[in-house]
Symmetry: C2
Subunit: 342 residues, 2 copies
Amino acid sequence: MGYPMARRCVGINVPLKVTITGEHAVVYGYPALVAAIDRKITIKICVRPDREIRITSRRAMIIGDISLICSEESCRGDASPDYVERFFSYVLKAIEISSKIFGDLGGLDIEISSGIPAGSGLGTSAAISAGVVAGYSYLAGRSVERKDIASIARRVEIEVQGAASPMDTGAVSLGGVLLVKPLETEVFKRVELKKALEILIAITPKKRSTRETVSMVRDLYNRRKTIVDHLMRAIGEISEEASKALEEGDLKTLGELMDINHNILRALGVVDRESEDIAEIMRTAGLEGVKISGGGWGGAIIGISRDRSRLEQALNSLLETGYTAFISSIDFRGIEYEEILK
Amino acid sequence: MGYPMARRCVGINVPLKVTITGEHAVVYGYPALVAAIDRKITIKICVRPDREIRITSRRAMIIGDISLICSEESCRGDASPDYVERFFSYVLKAIEISSKIFGDLGGLDIEISSGIPAGSGLGTSAAISAGVVAGYSYLAGRSVERKDIASIARRVEIEVQGAASPMDTGAVSLGGVLLVKPLETEVFKRVELKKALEILIAITPKKRSTRETVSMVRDLYNRRKTIVDHLMRAIGEISEEASKALEEGDLKTLGELMDINHNILRALGVVDRESEDIAEIMRTAGLEGVKISGGGWGGAIIGISRDRSRLEQALNSLLETGYTAFISSIDFRGIEYEEILK
């Protein structure tokens, strides 16, 4: 009986993201254009009285609940496939790095909910990393700027994956549309939209991880350096021009640039047959810009149009064919906190 | 009764050609790789006792015989669709230019036979222009080098079309495989093959003329100059590397380069859906390199493989689907003469 013990908790909402143009090229230092979307991952973090780390994930779309309990020595989970391990490794690394920066909080309960499967090219791992870092800093009583959360979350990605562009963690932390220039001092340039942008997003299971597709492109680059470098430069220029098109509200030009970018990604060998089939369904419905978004070989395929009804028509065609798809707006808020007491 | 009057005649065989890599980019001065194939156009030219020009064409694949009779003042044909007029305009221009260079021969009977439809991206107009120039020079008693025939035939193409790269007339006149560098003093560099090269060629009716596709690309270039220039540079480099791959007998590399080139052509917007379907049939049959050849929007789609049986498998798949296709070897002879007396 009586009231439960008061525990300090925080809820974090982190948007997911699409790469409008520039994936792969951004790995080589060229600009990319990225947008946070109104689909979010929510993370609830509470300080525990003991030193255990309990992580629970609810991901409606591909698997049921999964969880992991860690003591100081080891972790045990109720599900052990690779992707669960991979998924939780971002959380554990984010806790480890955060505790070094913000001080030790002891044990934590972490509950992650997302309607979007991990590995869909929508920046799930970046959102989880940034969300845990943000929550940890909040519970440690520290006020941290979004761009610093982005930067710490990128460290998490780099330590887990071996390498990571600043793009994903920047987009999910800051929100909005960003022109990312990895080699410049000011990495993120905020793109002001003249018109609202709605994006049709289709998702298929990834057949190869981003790490694999990045390595495929690296392999091609090593063999055909001059050719691939020209293609990367073309993609970088596409992102610069796409950014201007968005600022001018010129969705026709944006669409043309996305189409060119998609076909250069085909030339780089990262567009599989199923993604191309989905792209073709979107084109047939009259969308002006259709492109894979992310590393390729499955994941997200995005489409835009000046005409809302065409987006809906394409959405219906995709759903009727049995694909997972939805229309998303841009998220302009980035990471958000909500204090929870219970 | 009696013997027919002896007339001076000559027969000319001119190979057709495929562009292995580099179409469109060659218009902007970048290298292209072109090959003469063992499918030929034959042209028989006889001097007439009067001043009439009688042109007859036998093109088995798309139409029956067509013919044109010209006096000094005008021409009348038994068929008048646009493409007939376009087709004969090369012959008449070749006669006009040849007569200025080699002297007036008076009336001519010209009989053209080809199993390949004009406008298929296989250099029909170049072959006809070069063949008539070669025949005319022969009948005028002049010995002319193949490269000079190529150069005069290019003038014919330029006067009829408004513009023309030296590629097609060079390939059909000289034969073999050539790396074409339009901006260099030595425009044609002969590529010595280490291994025999067989090419699967599928043909569909062209939905847009080469003039139209060149103008589409020009339009894109004017709007997106930096991007398109990077793509053209990439294509130019592809042709240089493809030429090396052929000299080394490395068909795997050649195939990879063709695939990249094809997708850059997609990015340039010149690959229509039907050509892509044909390309996909070839890919499904396991070909290593698959590419449109020529301006795009129909015409020729080519494929190569290290494995002869795969070429045959792809050929069968195409024929079963109802497409026109054949396997061709490289022609190393270029323009050939055979004297005819009758």
